[in-house]
Every structure is written in C-alpha cells, then in structure tokens.
Amino acid sequence: MARKIRVLVAKAGLDGHDRGAKVVASAMRDAGFEVIYTGLHQTPEMIVQAAVQEDVDAVALSILSGAHMTLFPRVLTLMREKGITDVLLTGGGIIPKEDMAALRAMGVGDLFGPGTPTTAIVDYIRSATRAGAEAAR
C-alpha cells in the first residue's frame, strides 16, 4: 500500500484571498491527499520550514496579490538551501502566462490560473511528485 501524498497548501505574503486555496485544499483532501494548510500571511521562511517539518511531497503556493515573481523564486531558493530538491513547488493565482513560463524556467512546477478544475491540479500533483510516482508503480 503506497503512502499518501502529502501537500502543504500555503498563503504567502500579505494576500488574504483564500477562497481558492481552501477549495483546492478540500479537493485534495477528498482525493485522498494529506493536506496541511498554513493559514494566511506566511513568509517564505515560514513556508519552507513547514515543508521540511511536515516532510511534504509538494508545496502549493497561492498568490493573488501580484507578488508571485518575488515570492515563488524566494521559496524555491530557500527550498534548495534546505536541500529539499525532490519536493515539487507548484501553485496558482492571478499569474500572467509569461510569468508562469519564466517561473517554470527557474524550476517551479506547473502553475494554475482561475477556472482550472481541481481535478487537473490533483492529477498534476499525482504525476509530478515522488509519492505519486511510487503509487503509480
């Protein structure tokens, strides 16, 4: 029996828009993931620390405030510094296509915009994480 996929759903920065993060967290839970939600107003340091402590397979960052080009790279850098390079960094929010491409080039995973079905996010995390790959074997 494969272990459950563990995902940290995180709200970074000052952005209080948590409707999407909560809907996605609920959908992941219903899909059988173990979901840890950080709550609002987390710094990149707090998020990466939680990712290490909770031994997650993926960090899903929700940003609707326009600060994604600062916060995603900062979280990614800190993840590399902590040596958790096998953890997927993904997320979503109000993020223009060019910025999604630029972040992907830095090593961030797929990012999801408004209107994405939650099943697409769940399927992606299954396909792109270590635990998901083990389960598929």
Binding site: V9, L14, D15, D30, G66, G115
Partner: protein, 563 residues
C-alpha cells in the same frame, strides 16, 4: 462533499427553517439533481425556481411590503423619482503603483465623465506596513497605490479640490489613518472636514469573515471602527463613516442569501456597539452605508437589493427605534462580481459585467463600479477600464431603464423571490442573534465556515457540469485569446522605500515623538482615537508606525488555519 448528499448542511438547515415546517425533506434537492439533466433550476443561492409564477406565488400584503419609492420600507427604492432625478454615481475603483500614477489615473477618469473617486490601496497599506517592512517584500504598489505617509496622500489628490469630488477609500484595518490623512490633506487645501463627501470602508467584521486583512483581533478592531463612526457623526456630516460590505463576503464564496444575511448581521453589530457607547441611533445611522456584490443571477441580484432595503428599514425602525427616515435607508454602492469573470476568453467578461451592472441599476443602487474585462489577469489597463465605465454610461443613457422607478415591481417571480430572500436571510440573522451576535459568531468561525462550504459546493457543481461557465467548462475554444496586461514597474518598491525614509528623516522628530506617545496613551484608555491619529499624521507619522502602536496596544490577530 461526499457527505453533503447524506447529511443536511447548515445552509440547508437555515433554508428549511426559513420555510417553516411545510418544507420538503432535507437532501431531496441533491437526489433530484443527480439524476436530472445538467441544469439546475435554482438560483445561485440554491432557491428552487419554477417554470411559471402566477399571482398564487405572491403572498397577501404585497402593497404593504412594497410601500412607495422613497418611503418605508423602501423595497422600491430610496427616492421617489430614483434615476429620473439623479443617476447613480459612476465610481470606478483605481489605484496602482505610486501616488503619482494613481493621481494621473484619477485625472484621466474624471475627464472621461466619472463622477466619484475610488481608491485602491496596495497590500502593505491595507495591512498597516511601511514599504520597507519585511512583510511588504514584492507587494508595494502591486494591487493598488502605496500610501505610507501624509506626503503620499498630498500627491495622490494633487490638483483635485476635495470639496468638489466625493472619494471612496477601500481601507479597513488602518482606515482611521487614511481617514485622518484625507482630513489633513483637505486642511492643507483650506477645506474643513464638514465639507468633505465620501466613504471610508472601515468594516472590520467582514475582514474577519471574508477579506482577511487585519492588524488587531476583532474586538479592538471594531472599537476603532466605532470611533470613526462617532467622530464622523460629530465632524463630517456628509461622510459615510463605514461601508458595511457584502462584496468581499460574496467574493469569498457566499451565496446571495448569505451575503445579504452576514452583511446585515454586521450592520446590526455596529449599531449595537454604537448604542453601547451611549450614542443615539439617529445620530449615526444616517451615515451608515452598504456595499453589495452583483453576480450573474439576474433576478436574484435585483431581489437581493430590494430585500436588503426592506430588512434594514424594519430593523432600524422596529428593533433599534430609529425615528429619522434617513436612519431606515440602506444606501448602497455596488460592484460587479470579480469572481464571476474568467481568465478564459476574457472578452466575454464585458458581457457579464454589462448584465450584472444592469441588475444593480434595476435593483436601485446609489453608486456602481463596473469591473474591467482583464481583472482575472492583472490590474486593468486604461482601455479596459474605459470600456467598463462606458458600459455604465450605455445603461444610463441608451437603454431607457432609468426612466421608470423599480420597473420590475409586481412581477410574480421577482416579488416571490424578494420575499424568499428576506425570509432566508432573516433566518440566518436569527441564528447569529442566538449565538450572541455577529462578533461571537465571527470568533467561532461560523460565517467563515458557511462561506467556505458554499465556495466548495459551487466549485463541485461547476466541475460536475451542473453549473455552466461559458468558455470554462462549456463552449471553450482551443485558440488562446490574449489581451494586453498592465505591468507594474518593479522599481516602485525601491522608490517608495526611499520616499518614506526621506519623510522620516525630514520631519520634526520632537513633534512626531509627542503625537505617537499621546496616541499610545489613548490606546490604553476608552478615548476616541481619531483626534490622536489625526495629530500623528499631521506630524508625518507613517502608516506603519501608527499601526505598530495598535499592534503593541491590542496585539496581532492570527486566524486559526482551517479549511
């Protein structure tokens, strides 16, 4: 979701109670919809809708429930002639980058025929941080304009005589600081506070419920809101000291009924807090204002505006004993639903916004913001913002809907729906009263949980194809339509940091010290804080510094992380 079909949700329970003992079995609707074609014959709030309405559907006593326009209970509108006498205020929310940028946008919008200003602030400003605080990293000037000290505010309103415009400021946790800065800028223009017209949102209850921008815990936050209501009642007779907002509650996922109920429950909360302070209800109630969302469900939205006015009028007259008819009036701003707009096929949003705006007008709004088609992608470009304003002008000047007051009155369907929304919202309000009032309910997380459940239910309905979103889960095209997106200069953060540091270095340090100390002292008492904040902003204390005084005095709020 799996257990939603088996057990009755709180929303269904409230709905059943509102309908009395004759209502159907709980859960029956779910069973029907699972075998029915992928179309829900119900409103966005889950109110079942029949194919045909007749006089049988309208309960006796309609004339009394409607009243006349401009008279209690204001179901038909606040004014006898409504838009024949005066159109609604076209108030487009604007703000990005630096104070200079937003000042230019204001001048542009005024030149295009806009009749009221509306200011959007950036996240650090909304949360009470200066731009050089660690939490502000990457956020300065992104979602709105950065205002850190009186100097920024002076630039923001440069060349705009504040006695000739009305200004709405969407700010909550540090609202008292922005209100004080506005008064101080007017002072410098030689305009006394009693001549200033406009609105400060300053509704902290809905922050804890939905928008989640706060500094201190609920009770001191509400205390500061009540300070503003009290001070404005004494000094700013043309100013709306609060905008009790359903908008954010709806955007966070509430249904129209929940938006109506939780917003009015918030209103009751503020009225009760003011009365505890010994204020007479007619002293402040005429300056309370409201703010509704306008979503896609056309008739439900019109019914919501009408039901809201009726519920409020009855509450104010009968529960709170208000004597002044102005205290009975639910005056409202409205904004089309940002959450209804799609990133897919963004041009379709122009149609959504037009339909929503029409509902707000038919519902009798006093002022309106129409969203721009590109808001799911970034802040609006100038072109998109202009189309949004033109949409209002087309409704106002081309469609003829402004010629007749409350034209849908007497429609069997609309009247039945208005009554039903009033009943369901009233059932929620009763439940909140039983919990000891809205502050207790918020501390228990009750409205928060209700909203999150509704948001999830809606998303599942969309994913299962029961609800259609054009261009998203039906009628999607393969080719990507791209539209231009506004870019914010990343250098704004650096310049804003330099400016606030220059202000701190240049100001009269002794005067600053004295005003901050006086504010700190006042926070430890029951005194009204507005005069102390006003002195501090005149001394160029920054928004972050004043917010820090609140943090020290009252503590910082942390929400329990539940989903």
């Amino acid at each position: 979701m799996a257990n939603a079909a088996r057990t009755e949700t709180e929303a269904q329970r409230v709905k059943r109670e509102a309908q009395g003992p004759a209502a159907g079995k709980p859960g029956a609707a779910e069973n029907e919809s699972s075998t029915a074609p992928p179309q829900l014959f119900e409103t966005l709030s889950g109110i079942p809708v029949k194919a045909l309405y007749t006089s049988e559907d309208v309960k006796p006593g309609l004339a009394e429930r409607l009243g006349e326009p401009g008279k209690f209970p204001f179901t038909r509108g606040l004014h006898t002639e409504m838009y024949r006498a005066r159109l609604w205020t076209m108030r487009q929310f604007a703000g990005f980058g630096s104070a200079e940028h937003t000042n230019q946008r204001f001048h542009y919008l005024l030149a295009q025929g806009m009749t009221g200003l509306s200011t959007a602030f950036d996240m650090p400003t909304l949360m009470g941080y200066d731009p050089d605080h660690a939490m502000s990293l990457g956020e300065v000037g992104r979602e709105g304009v950065a205002i850190s000290s009186l100097e920024d505010m002076e630039i923001l309103f440069r060349g705009i005589p504040l006695d000739q415009v009305t200004t709405s400021m969407t700010i909550n946790a540090p609202a008292v600081v922005l209100l004080a800065m506005y008064v101080a800028v007017a002072e410098k223009q030689g305009i006394p506070p009693e001549k200033l017209g406009g609105t400060v949102q300053a509704d902290m209850l809905k922050e804890f419920i939905a928008q989640k921008e706060w500094i201190c815990p609920p009770r001191p936050s509400v205390k500061i809101c009540v300070d503003m209501i009290e001070w404005c009642a004494q000094h700013m007779p043309k100013w709306n000291s609060i905008s009790i907002s359903g908008y954010h509650i709806r955007e966070a996922g509430a249904t129209a009924v929940q938006e109506l109920a939780f917003t009015i429950a918030d209103g009751i909360g503020y009225v009760e807090e003011c009365r505890k302070r010994g204020m007479d209800v007619d002293e402040f109630a005429p300056r309370l204002s409201f703010f509704w969302d306008v979503h896609n469900d056309f008739f439900e939205e019109i019914a919501k505006f009408r039901a809201g006015r009726r519920i409020w009028a009855k509450l104010m007259r009968d529960r709170f004993g208000a004597k002044n008819p102005k205290s009975w009036m639910l005056r409202t701003h409205a904004q089309t639903a940002g959450v209804s707009l799609t990133a897919q096929q963004p041009l379709n949003n122009v149609a959504r916004v037009a339909i929503q705006a029409l509902a707000a007008v038919l519902g009798g709004t006093q002022s309106l913001h129409t969203n721009s088609m590109d808001e799911t992608l970034a802040l609006p470009t100038e072109e998109a913002a202009t189309v949004a304003l033109r949409t209002q002008q087309i409704i106002a000047y081309e469609t003829g809907v402004t010629n007749v007051v409350d034209p849908f009155a007497g429609s069997y369907f609309l009247e039945a729906l208005t009554d039903r929304m009033e009943e369901e919202a009233t059932a929620y309000i009763r439940r909140i009263d039983e919990m000891g009032g809205i502050i207790q309910a918020v501390e228990r997380g009750y409205p928060q949980k209700e909203i999150a459940d509704s948001a999830y239910r809606f998303q599942m309905q969309v994913e299962q194809g029961q609800r259609t979103i054009v261009g998203v889960n039906r009628f999607g095209g393969d080719e990507e339509i791209s539209i231009p997106v506004l870019k914010i200069d990343p250098d704004i953060e650096r310049r804003q940091i330099e400016r606030v540091r220059a202000v701190r270095a240049r100001r009269d340090a002794a005067r600053w010290e004295k005003t901050i100390a006086a504010l700190r002292d006042a926070c430890m008492s029951d005194r009204n804080l507005v005069p102390y904040v006003l002195d501090a902003v005149r001394a160029y204390a920054t928004l972050g510094e004043i917010s820090d005084v609140f943090r020290e005095a009252y503590g910082v709020y942390r929400e329990p992380a539940v989903f």
